[in-house]
């Protein structure tokens, strides 16, 4: 078999906990149970008023939808209550510390939301004639200028829809650049073992084959091993810096120089840009392409799993291959360069990745955030995020194994392992214990190079008081796990749900609601 379950996460059916004191409704005071819309709504109910449709000619040509669709409706008060009740079963950055490593869950300023909702942005059609949407292009142009300047790069492609999409954009540009030089034989992308799973997935999607680069004991890319592997079949490397262990790659310049000398390109996963924004420019490290998660470093909301936004900055060498469309300033006018206007000037572009222009709603939010912080504030963001992470690292290393703590400070996230926990206890138990303490757990079992990894990223928007409370809770849960406290194994006890049976969900997938078969129908 291929490497069996490197992460060490061994799911099993959760143990039954002690019976809870039941109530008639199943509710527990402010903790309100909420049925599905299919159980409370009806197809006749609507929460939207319309006038009568005027009678008129039908041009549907016999395609009228005659069968019931099965979409339940709720009146407005019922709908607002349904979604409000559901929302209260979610943890969120608005409620407390959300230290998911590599996800940069920072405060989402509400000014961003207000600006994105200005009618000139929110109610603007993507195919509005270009003279009638100059303000939108100016937003894109201004944000592009900030991103290029903050990263010290040459250009930026704004259209990628999320981080993984940005990665795809970056590796496609590398492929296009190599193809243009007649180097179709360069098919291998080298990816560190510690890489996020999207890196190899993206490389494969773009037709590359992937080879691992080993890590050193200190959690960094093994420079010698990397150099040894470079050759005429290597297209480049995909490196995360700061890496997924929360460490800066000190050899980044040497890596870039070696890869360039061997004829390859350097892709940098910019997921962890928050640690260095305003202090280090990736362009100074020899990087050719890097995506920037606007939903991480630049505070656009994660929304429960998207939308994201993943602009990609490029070096001069890759700029000609960047995707369409993009915005250019010609005199006082902003123009949209797309298939039609790319012409000879941008003939090498690898093409279009999305309909329209990308995540405009995220651009307005990110620009609002960037202008709020300014160049000085963004630098402080990096410093405070790194300070907060090191504070947690040094406050925890005596109770949890911190595999890289001895090699020096971390960047914006601190990593711990499950080493030292007694038999039967693992990272998942510490995570679930933190839920009962009122915190969202850290990233667990990632990166794979650390067994039972716990990756803690506090971000800069947490106060010292919050960090102290978190550290107290984290220490308490870790100590309980070390002491074999069985109640940690059955945590969480106080969340809207106890541990959920993921095995059952995967063995017998129920992905849509189906009406229960009614027994009385037989009568």
């Amino acid at each position: 078999m291929s490497n069996i379950n490197q992460s060490g996460w061994r799911p099993t059916t959760p143990q039954a906990g002690e019976a809870s004191g039941g109530t008639f409704t199943g509710n527990r005071a402010l903790m309100l149970e909420e049925p599905l819309i299919f159980e409370i709504g009806s197809t006749e109910t609507t929460g939207v008023d319309f006038g009568e449709a005027p009678s008129g000619k039908s041009r549907l040509g016999g395609l009228e939808r005659s069968r019931t669709i099965g979409l339940p409706g709720l009146s407005e008060p019922e709908a607002v209550r349904h979604y409000t009740r559901l929302s209260r079963q979610n943890y969120a950055i608005d409620l407390g510390l959300f230290p998911l490593g590599s996800c940069t869950m920072k405060h989402n300023p509400r000014l961003n939301e207000r600006m994105a909702r200005l009618p000139g942005f929110a109610d603007l059609h993507p195919l509005t004639p270009v003279d009638a949407c100059q303000g939108a292009f100016e937003v894109i142009h201004q944000l592009a200028h900030w991103l290029v300047t903050l990263t010290g790069m040459h250009s930026v492609a704004m259209s990628p829809k999320a981080g993984a999409h940005g990665e795809l954009c970056g590796v496609l540009a590398i492929r296009a650049a190599l193809d243009a030089k007649g180097q179709q034989a360069r098919k291998v992308l080298l990816v560190p073992e510690s890489a996020h799973g999207t890196n190899p997935a993206t490389a494969a999607f773009a037709g590359f084959s992937v080879e691992d680069i080993p890590a050193t004991e200190a959690g960094r890319v093994n420079l010698e091993a990397l150099k040894a592997r470079l050759g005429p079949d290597v297209a480049g490397v995909m490196i995360t810096n700061p890496n997924t262990c929360g460490l800066f790659e000190p050899d980044m310049r040497e890596i870039s120089e070696a890869v360039h000398a061997a004829g390859g390109f350097v892709y940098c996963d910019g997921a962890n840009f928050n640690a260095i924004v305003g202090r280090v420019r990736p362009g100074d490290l020899g990087i050719d392409a890097m995506h920037i998660n606007l939903h991480k470093t630049f505070s656009t909301p994660h929304g429960g799993g998207g939308p994201g936004s993943g602009p990609v900055v490029f070096s001069e060498a890759l700029t000609p291959y960047a995707p369409l469309p993009f915005v250019e300033k010609q005199g006082e006018q902003f123009v949209l360069v797309e298939e039609e206007t790319a012409g000879e000037h941008h003939a090498s572009s690898f093409g279009r990745m999305v309909a329209f222009h990308g995540q405009m709603g995220m651009f307005t939010r990110a620009l609002t955030y960037i202008l709020s912080h300014g160049a000085d504030g963004l630098r402080q963001v990096a410093e405070d995020s790194v300070l907060n992470a090191n504070y947690i690292l040094r406050s925890m290393e005596d109770v949890l194994d911190a595999p890289f703590a001895k090699s020096g400070p971390c960047m914006h996230e601190a990593i711990f392992s499950d080493k030292g926990l007694p038999e039967g206890f693992s990272t998942i138990d510490v995570a679930k214990g933190l839920i009962d303490e009122g915190f969202h757990p850290m990233t667990v079992y990632f990166p794979l190079v650390v067994h039972g990894a716990m990756l803690v990223e506090p971000t800069e928007t947490e106060s010292k008081a919050t960090l102290d409370q978190f550290i107290g809770a984290f220490r308490s849960v870790a100590a309980r796990a070390r002491n074999g406290d069985p109640t940690v194994k059955t945590a969480p006890h106080h969340a809207p749900r106890r541990r959920l049976d993921e095995t059952l969900a995967a063995r017998k997938p129920v992905l849509v609601w189906k009406a229960p078969v009614r027994a009385e129908a037989a009568e």
Binding site: M1, W9, R10, A506, R507
Partner: protein, 123 residues
């Protein structure tokens, strides 16, 4: 009839020309609850070390390699409905596929039960 093991935690039981392949008890314990198994179709020819099947828990997916070369006779149809068989009886009812051996001598390069036990104890 004799049983052999690979360092990748497959077992292979040879019975004349026909061999049965599965994953070891150690492998299933490392994966946790198995939720899905994809077995090869009859007639597929495999070389030693080829991807032959896929086994998934909720949090991990692994390819199962062919321990030796051969032609697949059948996949274990029972695993489609009941992948838990791999957890309950990995080295019996939870077998993955049967194949005819291309080279009956090839199994001799694999470990026997004692050697595999020793191998696992050192992991």
């Amino acid at each position: 009839m004799s049983r052999y093991f690979t360092e990748d935690h497959e077992w292979i039981q040879v019975d004349g020309e026909v061999a049965t392949v599965g994953i070891t008890d150690y492998a299933q314990s490392q994966l946790g609850d198995i939720v899905f198994v994809e077995t090869p179709e009859a007639g597929k020819t495999v070389s030693k070390g080829d991807d032959a099947a896929v086994v998934e828990s909720v949090k991990a997916a692994s390819d199962v390699y062919a321990p030796v070369a051969g032609t697949v006779i059948e996949g274990n149809a029972a695993l489609a409905d009941n992948p838990a068989l791999v957890n309950e009886d990995p080295e019996g009812e939870g077998w993955f596929f049967k194949l005819t051996l291309a080279d009956a001598g090839e199994v001799s390069s694999l470990m026997d039960e004692a050697a595999y036990k020793d191998f696992v104890s050192k992991l």
